[in-house]
Subunit: 158 residues, 2 copies
Amino acid sequence: MSGEAEQLYAVLRYVRPLHLVAARAVTHALAGEHVTMGVRAVLEVLSGQGPQPVPAIGRALSMPRQVVQRLCDQALELGLVDTAPNPAHRRSRLITLTDAGRGAFERLHAVELRNLGEIAADLTPDDVAATLRVLDALTTGLARFAPAGAGTMTEEFA
Amino acid sequence: MSGEAEQLYAVLRYVRPLHLVAARAVTHALAGEHVTMGVRAVLEVLSGQGPQPVPAIGRALSMPRQVVQRLCDQALELGLVDTAPNPAHRRSRLITLTDAGRGAFERLHAVELRNLGEIAADLTPDDVAATLRVLDALTTGLARFAPAGAGTMTEEFA
């Protein structure tokens, strides 16, 4: 039992370095686009989930509403998103991707997938599937020991 | 190839949520100790690697020297670390763990391992070993696409 806990702890110790290096890789891919890491994250949510109001984007990104609002304002100025009436709430408009926003995200994501494809060539699909199982169990399991609100990290997107 | 890249991307998408929830779990475990997340990280390096000068701790944590210096000053005030002469460099002293510092880290780490032991009970050792292989390949591989210095995230420790 103790050895297994130590092994899982070794998994956890990869998370911060991987988070840092993944962010650096994204930042590097962004260099040619007028997009920050935070704006990219908003574009990704809209690309995957369709038009969303600001609070829903915040929930998808585990980010405070005010931070998401600022990112949406930036994306709006850049012409990457637009707003539309929200049929569900008269006072909270939907954020929608523009063609420019969809294009920017797709260009960025194509670079990311090309890079990941090179890395994947050295790995087996079974190992990657096992990793998804373990990370899912860790994320769900640690949430039991992490009451909501105890510490947030939004600075990397600010 | 494309499907494998997408699967690896799914792995990467776990990293930020897991980073957040792991930090929240650590913060919760810290509640009973006079220790912040950043000080805990310094104690962990000293516990694993023995006495180190500030710049070496910074390299181990991918954190700027000034941030580590501040954390070491905090730990010094709390009596968790002390300083000793550095045989290798006359002007850069070694940071050493005190008994109180070692005790604080060991209490925190025992809580973490107990929590992880519960989670590990639902996983196979093979899956966890595969996860370590994949995260190692991802961290090493992404570093090729992430020039050093392009973006850093130290705020969560500040």
